[in-house]
Symmetry: C2
Subunit: 379 residues, 2 copies
């Protein structure tokens, strides 16, 4: 018997599932959007994930279908499930990752701590929310946003006019999500894995440092998190995984407020940038864990293998040449750093790789990871 | 720029280079002996490694050629080098791994500690050696042996008659290697990595436990090795790597004698079973290190990431069904164990996978690795 996992999407998350699949001895197949993508080594098909026949043909050759991203349309997913395909996470769970209004409404039902929020369909509704929240708020398009896209801080209702106009022209109609601007001291992320048969594994809560709306680095575990904060974060992660029926990896992005509360910011139902540290810093990395979870295998231990792990993204990369030209310098100066690159061409702001370091001293670990990653950037 | 490593041979050692190649962002291509081998995911060619044109065509598409095994004929290797192919380890070094008589002679020149040995071409010569060494000795065919094959303990010169006959019929002629039967307390292995430009990285010396001439488990570092023993082993490893001009990973299999000496048993110029622990137990695993070394990149840190690592081979596998049928039980009972399988069908005695565990308590770590591995075997 061979276990075969099919991954829809050929990006770096699919790529990073290849190593643990090969190590374990699980067959991995990728349906890539195009030739030459990050996960090209395992790409057995190239096609449009919005086309149900394309995805169904791909799914015929695998035991379980999972994802590099959350963009496969809901009707495609439900057609697959109706055709008997094992899809993890399933369409009912993915809806909450695909639509932030659905997510907010469901988390409210579950009693999860959230920022104040509302669904607004016009300028007047948005102005009412602004008036009730000190004149500033975050407006989000419910669908399609990531890495800061589809997110806007506004202090006047007119600043979302273009989005309202677009909504009015969209046959599906719809509303914008508006959220209070949270006074947070830092951002955290809680990762959990959940099997279809129910078992859950919880990673330590981590601190994520964003720059320009994009994850720049992750400290694991979150420094000074404390027992209570860690337990609350873990509880929120497990409650959401169970409440939403998530299978595979779930990342819950959290705000830690200045008054020591935790509020849920965003969800991702897949391996997530906030968990890359676990590749080198935990007994079971998130990519192996995701494979185990979607295959309904028992989950691996989530313990860190060192007191501290730090992950620093390589954002953009060098202006001239590729990443590998920088290998000699980074490897010579940082022999303990773990370098990960994604086979993507450098481009400003693009996530093209990351570096992790682990060890007993947080300052040293953070220095190693940051300094190593900086070799891939121009001054 | 993309760095492209070509691996001759599609076995599990080539397979285990895939994960670090993908993680780093190095392209890996494999010339496999057949379809469906362990390293099939990266196999871009299938052909006979004894055919110089086949290997040369494969080598055209890569920056450096390296190996899953040491069986590529010397004349093929030299033809590649003459054609300008970067080959690591090179033919001059590989000769010493391919021919145990060459190896013994060269190690003698280097002053390395060895068992008494001799080249014998007939029964009389073997009898002389037996008479001088208490009536028992180890006879080895200089070429082609591995995992106990081509090795025989004899107490009468007639016991090697078939090999002498075969030698007489071999156009290349030749001699057998005979070695004293070493009174050893245990076996050790020293791994080092060496770049073409000269840098060397040294792993901790490990204890290897053989059963029936095949590696069964590895304890890293070797328990009770002591500072002096560790330094001697490291020195022997470095001297051999430098003296023989090895590039890539070198494993030196050692006897620890009952009178506390170290003697060189065998050499392997590639990642080796005695180093599998490093995949999960060292900052830089031997497969990543081999890629870095043959690409002449700076070598990674070889520090263990836990006080103890234990690797246990899965030899044979279940009589019925495949390895993955055992995943649920092993993963449920041993969530900290790291399972590696090679995509090979179970067969008595065959190396089909291994399990590693790491931690602070050797007894517990060894228990976890052994118990986890035992799930893959029938009673």
């Amino acid at each position: 018997m061979v276990l075969r996992v099919g991954v829809v999407g050929g990006g770096q998350l699919a790529r990073m599932m290849i190593a643990p699949a090969v190590e374990l001895g699980v067959e991995i197949r990728v349906l890539a959007e195009a030739e030459g993508m990050s996960a090209a080594l395992a790409a057995t098909a190239v096609g449009d994930y919005r086309d149900v026949e394309t995805v169904r043909a791909f799914a015929r050759e695998v035991d379980v279908l999972t994802f590099d991203h959350e963009h496969v349309p809901h009707d495609v997913l439900t057609a697959l499930v109706d055709a008997g395909v094992a899809v993890h996470p399933g369409p009912d769970a993915l809806r909450f990752a695909q639509d932030k209004l659905h997510m907010r409404a469901r988390l409210a039902e579950l009693g999860m701590p959230q920022p104040d929020w509302a669904a607004v369909s016009d300028r007047a509704g948005l102005q009412d929310f602004l008036d009730a929240h000190g004149g500033r708020a975050v407006v989000k398009t419910p669908r399609g946003g990531y890495d800061g896209k589809g997110v806007r801080v506004v202090s006047a209702a007119t600043e979302a006019d273009d989005w309202f106009t677009a909504l009015a022209e969209d046959a599906r109609g719809g509303e914008l999500l508006v959220e209070e601007l949270v006074d947070f001291s830092r951002e955290l992320a809680q990762q959990v894995a959940r099997r279809p048969s129910g078992d859950v594994a919880v990673y330590p809560v981590v601190e994520t440092i964003q720059r320009g709306g994009v994850c720049a680095e992750v400290l694991a575990p979150a420094p000074h998190a404390g027992e209570r904060m860690s337990q609350v974060a873990a509880r929120v992660g497990v409650d959401i995984a169970e409440g939403l029926g998530v299978t595979g990896m779930l990342a819950v992005e959290l705000f830690e407020t200045t008054d020591d509360r935790i509020l849920v910011n965003e969800l991702a139902m897949r391996p997530h940038n906030s968990g890359h540290w676990s590749q080198d810093g935990a007994v079971t990395g998130q990519f192996e864990q995701h494979l185990r979870a979607v295959l309904d295998l028992p989950l691996g231990a989530t313990d860190p293998i060192a007191p501290w792990s730090v992950m620093v993204n390589i954002l953009g990369g060098p202006r001239e040449g590729g990443l590998v030209e920088r290998f000699p310098a980074v490897m010579r100066e940082h022999p303990t750093a773990k370098v990960h690159t994604y086979g993507k061409d450098p481009r400003p702001g693009r996530k093209v790789g990351h570096v992790t370091a682990i060890g007993a001293d947080l300052d040293d670990v953070a220095y190693q990871a940051r300094a190593a990653a900086s070799h891939f950037l121009d001054d």
